[in-house]
Amino acid sequence: MTHVAAILSRFVATLATRSRAVAGLCLAMVLGVLTTACDEPPTSTQAPVLVKTEPGTLIFHPSTGPVEVTLVNVSDQPVRVDRPRIDETTPDWVAFTVGEDASATQIPAKGSITFHVGVEAGYFLGPGDARPAVVRGGEEPEPTAANEFREGKSRLVFSVDGVPHTGMPIRFEDPSWVTQYMLPALVKILLLVLGFIMPLASLLTWMERKQSAMMQDRVGPNRANIRIGGLNLRLWGIVHFIADGVKMLFKEDFIPKRAHRALYNLAPVFAVAPALLVFAIIPFGDGICYDQLFQPLSGADVAQCADGRGGTPLQVAQIDVGLLFYFAIASLATYGTALAGWSSYNKWAILGSLRASAQMISYEVAIGLTIVGALLVYGTLEPHALVKAQETTYWGIVLQPIAFVLFFTAGMAETKRAPFDIPEADSEIIGYFIEYSGMRFGLFYLSEFIETIFMAAMLATLFLGGWGLPFGMLTAGGFSSALAATLFLTAVGLGLTVMGVLAWRTSKAGELFGAVVALVGVLHLFGAVYAAFTGWGTAIPHVLVVVLGMVIWGGKVFLLCGVQLLVRWTLPRFRYDQLMSLGWKGLLPLSIANLVITAILVYLLMPGLTPAS
């Protein structure tokens, strides 16, 4: 075993020292792959598809109302379609109806028509008291258990220029609560919490110290290292967070003699739980379709999946009151602070918790009124719909620039970190967690960083288009155009290459890392060239689009965390009275003014949304 490790470490060390050669080798490989990829694609012998249905497969659940279906003409000449109908040869055709809005029409080149398809869910309901009579000709449905829906299939058919089209499969299913809600939610929670929040939060503990050091011309933590074989990996001190975690876990867990033991133990939980809970409403991607991962999908497909039919939205809880839920839960975090201060039996601690409560009140109001502006513009409280609305119009930062600044300020106050670290106030009172030690303190510490990440995620969702790119460059099927793909890949490639080369030059430790980053950047640049010449990028496999969206979302959150750290280490602290006057006399009037102006502008410029209509 040690032998293998030694060989591996030798190999990595060689890679590190020969990074130039490795980079060259990889470049040659990339060139080879690209030249083969650029070859002529095999020509298909089938007749070209003139009309596409969106979504590709229509899925109904018992509670689904009439669904909009679009026929898109993908050819270059206008085509004529007859009135779409349900295929009578399929067993369950009687249950489905094509809406009155469907008709035989001419679809212009690149144009589309839209109509509705509905379902009578009662048809699929097994024999029971509540079963409605469905008599419309056709076969008697198979008997099923009482009051349970069975699965059914049908097909929407039509002909294009007289030639029958393959049509659109229709499915009716009634997934159980477990498969529809619980399992996907569990997977998403694990992915989000264990795959993103916790790693990033612990990384932020290192990043804060390293970034502040770099900003103040210091070196920062760089001692902790991992030894694999003969290779000493120091990685700019990143592994410090592991050392910190181990230290926190093994330190003495001290409880003051006169503390209220139960509340003292509960307070860290009250601090961390709301911080993690509010992430439930954050969408980190559009929707994911389980059975169509490797083919390009249309917007309607993904919208159907995001609605929970045939897929799941990439959001733990898609609730209509999303932002209200956030206010409700985020305010609970104050309980953690207040209880920690009160139960510690320490006057500094209780001062800290009182300050925390006062600060929370003065900022929650401003935050709430700030968001109302965005609510007026986009007309929804549901974060997923908010992001979708930004995709089709403009990002929140363009439509609500003042709200962005106000929300950023108030959000930083909400995280209880400098310049709003009144509850903590290292220099006056040590803060509400003064009596805590070991991992209990660690939880408070971590919850601050989790709140930082949440604020970044919230800013990204409300004002920076969530998982999307500016100008709707990233759509459900891929990039909106080959130009968008080229632009995105060029920007990312240039950024990564420059960063990699710079990291390469900084130190010997950075050589391997820098080479890898630069290599990935160069790969992106090749991709950009490929996209520019072949028009690639408008139809990418679904799973790639999902991953791309998640990466973009993660990148935005990471950068916003960095900006928050930058602010935290640049600005001096506010005094208590300054903080209060900023909150009540600065942010509150400004957010009200922003709200009033937004309301007037919305009334004047968006007549479709006026109450009169």
């Binding site: 970034q211 770099m214 900003m215 103040q216 011309d217 210091r218 070196v219 600044v405 960063m499 710079l502 990291a503 030059r505 900084t506 130190s507 930058l566 602010v567 280490w569 640049t570 600005l571």
Partner: protein, 195 residues
């Protein structure tokens, strides 16, 4: 050169009161430092000397009067200069110098039978060097006391201390036996003594 007076307005301007321009300015400054230090070789403006890193010799950075590990100086014949006068161990505020004297056979002076310094107790104040009348103990070795795993390793004896030492150019015992004749005379013009 005349002294110029720069008048600073203490009036609160609108620019001050909306905070944002000043905040952005500050953020730009810190961001500039961050990017420069992160992405330039040798960490840009960071002046920290990375002692202990390979290729960094602390001795290159220690100032001339740096007080390091003690050393005992030698006479011309290589024997220890110390005459066991106990000045250093008396003045030592940390009481970390332990000397046992013995008779020096070849002249009228004493010599240390054992000379032990507990470097763990030493507060590196340098008073022993100042107290020494015959330039026997010095702290200019330019060596930082290395960390030791055992307590005994940090307690240095005469042999270790002399290993770092060398011959001193000072005259042993100051000016010598006829120091009264060699000593400079006071200028009689400024003498206030009655003649």
């Amino acid at each position: 050169m005349t002294i110029g007076v720069k008048k600073v307005s203490l009036e609160r301007t609108t620019r001050d009161q909306i905070f944002l321009p000043a905040i952005l300015e500050g953020l730009l400054t810190t961001a500039r430092h961050f990017f420069k230090n992160t992405f330039s070789p040798g960490h840009g403006d960071v002046d920290t000397i990375r002692y202990g890193e390979p290729g960094v010799d602390p001795a290159d950075y220690y100032p001339e009067r740096f007080r390091g590990v003690h050393r005992l100086m030698h006479r011309e014949d290589g024997s220890v200069r110390c005459v066991a006068c106990m000045c250093c161990s008396t003045v030592c505020p940390a009481r970390c110098i332990y000397i046992e004297a013995e008779d020096r056979k070849d002249d009228a002076e004493k010599a240390p039978h054992s000379f032990v310094i507990d470097e763990l107790k030493c507060v590196v104040c340098g008073l022993c060097v100042e107290a020494c009348p015959c330039d026997a103990i010095r702290m200019d070795s330019r060596i930082h006391m290395p960390p030791s795993e055992l307590r005994e390793e940090a307690v240095l004896g005469k042999v270790e201390l002399m290993k770092r030492g060398g011959p001193s150019v000072a005259v042993q015992g100051g000016l010598g036996a006829d120091y009264r004749e060699q000593a400079p005379k006071a200028d009689p013009r400024f003498s206030h003594d009655p003649h």
